[in-house]
């Protein structure tokens, strides 16, 4: 096979994969602007029914409230979780000794515990202390995650020890070194952590389904799932709801994808 033919095959495969990857999302966006009859008829051009679909949607679910709930839970979880896990990842690397290394191994093992095993004890615990339907109840189980700790530990490994020593001599205390030197240097790791954590929080479905029993506390994924469980066959409104759910994570992802790849590279090394 000649070099040129090889390249052509690569282009064909990659373009095909790109189209397949993007098509369902584009189809969803187009459907959000069309009437259900047109969607079923296979219309593949943008329509003018966005506002009608929106009105039908909010008549069925309080999408705005769901959106605000999801924003609140996800933003708080992301900020607190990144703070806690970056401190821990840095601590496990910079101050490591036998005890801490053993503890880290134990934390990594906790990755194997399936969430359904924890869901029932956590539900009973949270309902007895009144944490159902609350932001704290939403975020607590996923604030400290082995994956993030691992990510930040890998980042701390590539943080030069001489820099830490020099800062100590300059009289900066350990937390000063972390906040003033480690965080600014490791921006891409923090961006990757931000992307992953926000997406996980935003997309979390099983846990809010367990604890958010009050409809006022429901998240967006719960609401779009509710739409499909009844006899709601308005595809246009349904796809608009899916679009609203997808937009924030897609925008964040597109904005930070370069950092995401870089941050993950650090973790894989």
């Amino acid at each position: 096979m000649t070099e040129k033919n090889k390249l052509i095959i690569q282009y064909i495969v990659l373009i095909f994969a790109s189209v397949i990857s993007v098509f369902p999302l584009v189809w969803m966006m187009i459907a959000a602007t069309n009437r259900t009859v047109d969607i079923i008829a296979g219309k593949l051009t943008f329509g003018t029914q966005l506002v009608t679909n929106y009105n039908n949607l909010i008549a069925n679910q309080d999408i705005f409230r769901g959106f605000m709930n999801s924003v609140k839970y996800s933003v708080i979880q992301t900020l607190v979780s990144i703070l806690i896990c970056s401190l821990a990842g840095y601590g496990f690397e910079v101050f490591h000794d036998k005890v801490k290394d053993a503890l880290m191994a134990l934390i990594l093992m906790s990755m194997m515990i399936p969430f359904v095993a924890l869901m029932i004890p956590l539900f009973r615990m949270f309902s007895s202390v009144g944490l159902l339907n609350s932001t704290l109840g939403f975020i607590l189980p996923s604030l400290s995650t082995p994956f993030l700790i691992m990510l930040f530990r890998a980042a701390a490994r590539s943080f030069p020890a001489e820099m830490i020593e020099a800062a100590r001599i300059d009289g900066l205390n350990e937390f000063g070194i972390f906040f003033r030197m480690f965080i600014p240097t490791m921006r891409s790791t923090f961006a990757a952590a931000l992307t992953v954590t926000f997406m996980n929080a935003w997309n979390n479905y099983i846990w809010p389904k367990v604890i958010m029993q009050d409809s006022k506390a429901q998240t967006l994924p719960m609401m779009i799932s509710n739409l499909t469980s009844g006899y709601f066959t308005d595809y246009g409104a349904l796809m608009l709801a899916v679009l609203i759910t997808t937009l924030p994570t897609a925008v964040l992802f597109l904005a930070l994808q370069k950092n995401f790849a870089e941050g993950i590279t650090g973790a894989v090394k």
Partner: protein, 294 residues
């Protein structure tokens, strides 16, 4: 010397200050509930009225046809979907690693984009696409591949295949990014040298790319196995476990048993430990196989 020891001691205390919030949270939000679930798994009864029942819950598992079905389903997804996805991801990553290729950035973004969608959202998109009046049926009938619309979600095998297609769509790009990251650690000159030596594309892929990416492949295989055994959102939102539990996953069935109707916390805890054992065993096997090839 003495002051140095004191300094180390102070650093040690500082170290613990960095770790304490994370460690306390993992202890209370993972380990404590896991132990509590283990204890509950030996108890029988409904709701809050639980008493010690020995291994009754565990012996009940094997007689529960739906749970056995859900284990089979998860393994069906695992055995078919994970290899397809990882091989596709490897092929796409090694193609994108070609320096002569143009528009690499945009193609990478496109292939990675599905993992920006929420699991519930893409489940609903695929459910709509594969509905009887959905886009896939429309195209297939127009092209005369099928004579009349086929209800994919109402037949056991096709429902499972739709879940597999959806999973491959959602996760291939995600795994590809890990491989791309791994490939960047391999010197491009290795590939140049292989080319000069007259190695074919397939030989390069099998002899250079795969061996050098082995740690990353192992990592993605373990992550995918873990994820597949815990599938929930897709089962609930794409097929609703149907038709008649033919595509239900273990987590979905456990959720139904725990939160729909009378809660059976003892039994559901026992079932969730089956998942834990399966995840642990498969991770151990994969690590062992991964080490052997050295």
């Amino acid at each position: 010397m003495k002051s140095k020891t004191r300094l180390n001691q102070r650093r040690n205390i500082y170290g613990w200050l960095f770790l304490i919030p994370a460690v306390v949270l993992i202890a209370t939000m993972s380990f404590a509930p896991a132990v509590s679930a283990l204890i509950t798994s030996f108890k029988t009864g409904n709701g809050a009225d639980l008493h010690f029942g020995g291994l009754k819950n565990y012996s009940r598992i094997l007689k529960d046809a739906v749970f056995v079905q859900s284990i089979k389903n998860c393994f069906f997804y695992l055995i078919i979907q994970v290899p397809i996805m990882l091989i596709l991801a490897l092929i796409l990553a090694s193609m994108l690693n070609n320096n002569k290729l143009r528009f690499k950035g945009i193609m990478r973004t496109c292939i990675f984009l599905p993992c920006a969608t929420s699991l519930v959202a893409y489940s609903i998109i695929f459910r709509t696409l594969f509905a009887t009046d959905g886009f896939v049926n429309l195209v297939a009938t127009k092209l005369h591949i099928i004579s009349e619309p086929y209800n994919f979600l109402a037949h056991p095998t096709s429902a499972k295949i739709v879940i597999i297609i959806a999973l491959v769509w959602r996760w291939t790009g995600y795994n590809m990014v890990f491989y791309l990251a791994g490939l960047q650690n391999i010197e491009y000159s290795v590939y140049e040298a292989a080319k000069i030596d007259g190695a074919s594309a397939l030989q390069t892929f099998l002899r250079i790319t795969i061996p050098l990416l082995k740690p990353t492949i192992l990592l993605t295989a373990i992550m995918s196995t873990n994820g597949t055994l815990q599938l929930f959102d897709e089962s609930v939102n794409l097929t609703n476990g149907g038709p008649s539990n033919a595509s239900i996953t273990m987590s979905h069935y456990i959720y139904n048993q725990a939160f729909q109707g009378v809660p059976k916390f003892g039994y559901t805890s026992a079932m969730s430990f089956v998942i834990l054992f399966l995840v642990a065993i498969l991770a151990a096997v994969q690590l062992k196989v991964g080490d052997k090839r050295d």
